[in-house]
Assembly symmetry: C2
Homo-oligomer: 326 residues x 2
């Protein structure tokens, strides 16, 4: 996937996408067909200057001439501005303006989970027939535009990482929302008696299922605390089993929220916590089936059949970022 050295001119101007993580910055270049033709990775340096430099270095390491650069970054993204990306040390930075000046191309920013949703959508858009045809809400005959039809396949991506958030793609576009918080269902309370959340509420989806919350509630200093919790639960530890049940409860509730609010064609789950793998998947499916067993309405949603987990190693963040610019 790496570009041969010195091939920049041969490749022409390409769409570049960058995913900014807490430890690494990943960049890809897409050709006109959307295929990844170059890939680069840099260590993330924190702080406004460090993050910008890490991104610029990753883009240059691609060895291509970018036509545009899309960047997925944690925090609240509003235009060229990034706020509240605490782990990266970005309190309030005009990151887009800095990058556009440095790189000399059009730069578009998005929240990293929104960019990943677009990447997951791109990877799946061709695999499913677009909506339309039967069931598009039209009876009778005649022409005329419809005010009530989906323009294209929709997708919701639920990211279970350090925190929990979703990205929603409707009609091929990320739904950002009026205040840049669309998809922030991690901070929806699903149990007023649930665990305290860093946001100040109780029983948020993130308080149950987010990696940082699970680690905090578990305690200790394991390198992979969520994995340790799953291992201890398997070994019969009751408190670990309770935390595991909470993770499954939180993810199932997040999936239900997206299904009931947005009802996407595709409902994809990914993020660092899901690297636990099959044990996590089984726990989430069991939680969904338990709740559906008591409710014909929930059962009719067939969520256990509809949810998909990102494949291990499926990289959607940088690819989605490249697609922020059409």
């Amino acid at each position: 996937m790496a570009a041969p050295p010195g091939s920049a001119a041969d490749l022409g101007a390409l769409r570049v996408g960058v995913d900014v993580g807490g430890t690494k910055v990943e960049a890809v270049a897409l050709d006109a067909s959307g295929a990844v033709v170059a890939h680069a990775r840099q260590r993330t340096i924190a702080g406004p200057r460090g993050v910008a430099a890490s991104i610029v270095d990753a883009v240059r390491a691609l060895g291509v001439r970018p036509a545009s650069v899309g960047v997925g970054v944690p925090g609240r993204v509003d235009g060229a501005r990034v706020r509240d990306a605490v782990n990266l040390g970005l309190t309030d930075v005009e990151l887009g303006t800095v990058l556009a000046a440095e790189l000399g191309v059009l730069v578009e920013l998005a929240n990293d989970v929104n960019a990943a949703a677009l990447g997951a959508h791109a990877a799946r858009a061709s695999g499913v027939p677009a909506t339309g045809g039967p069931g598009t809400g039209r009876a009778g005959t005649g022409a005329g535009a419809s005010g009530a039809r989906e323009p294209a396949e929709s997708l919701a991506y639920l990211n279970i990482g350090t925190g929990v958030a979703a990205g929603i793609v409707i009609g091929g576009r990320v739904l950002r929302g009026a205040d840049s918080v669309a998809g922030e269902i991690g901070h929806l309370s699903i149990d007023p008696a649930g665990p305290e959340c860093a946001c100040g509420q109780r029983g948020c989806v993130e308080a149950f299922a987010g990696g940082a919350s699970v680690a905090r509630r578990w305690g200790g200093g394991a390198e992979h605390p969520v994995r340790e919790v799953f291992d201890r639960a398997d070994a019969g530890d009751a408190r670990a089993a309770e935390l595991v049940a909470g993770v499954a409860f939180g993810i199932a509730a997040g999936a239900r929220t997206l299904a009931l609010a947005v009802d996407p064609d595709r409902l994809v789950i990914g993020g660092g916590v899901t690297r636990i793998g099959e044990r996590l998947r089984a726990a989430v499916l069991a939680a969904l089936r338990d709740s559906a067993a008591g409710s014909p309405f929930l059962a009719s949603l067939r969520l256990d059949e509809r949810i998909e987990f990102l494949a291990p190693g499926e990289s959607v963040g940088a690819i989605g970022a490249a697609r922020l610019l059409a």
Copy 2:
């Protein structure tokens, strides 16, 4: 607002919208500017034939020549088909096909709450600047289409009636969803220890705030049970006060869900239960402020400032139905 008798030919072909309620069918005709130029009302007759006849009669009573007819109807609407509209006796009916044959025009169906959302959107679309301009996520210069911009003002309408459901309008179009359940947040559980819901779950938004659930939990046979509950709460009845607090908790959670999932430009609340008026509004605002007081994140959403209640008598269902066809 009624069309003068015999004026059908003068008015030309108009968009007609019909809202099918449990007791009455309301029809309106819109001129090209979207103004209501005729209005009619019929008693609802239950059952597949009765409902179709009530709609046809209401449309004919308008005294206009319809160019198209949009119909908002309870239940799950999928193309020309209506399912699960229990109160109307519509288990599974090709209502759209029947109406198109009877009326000889293009007929479009939608769930009644979705149609009302479109009506609320139409009434507000001109009052707010469309999204775009600052904060559209573009840094740098140059042309090129964006894959991440909202096409137009978005709105979520939360209907608190016998049941609870929402309608979502994005880019001027109703979001129907893959399985016709988009907006069905009434059946999101927000408290695993909460009251039983008719859907089989516990602690659904609808179990807390839906009129039928409140009436069932209160008991007795009052004609307006929700109003009685509010009156008894004002008089110091502890159980009534608990139910009122639950109604406010449910509506606040529904509003939060829509804000976090969709983050609409406009968040409008209406439906039969909201006819309680100022006491309900005050209780919902207090619930929103209470939760925001403990959470800077929730406070930043300013939900107490963003929610709007439909004005008493504001009729959005039939007007929205007329706009189902552009």
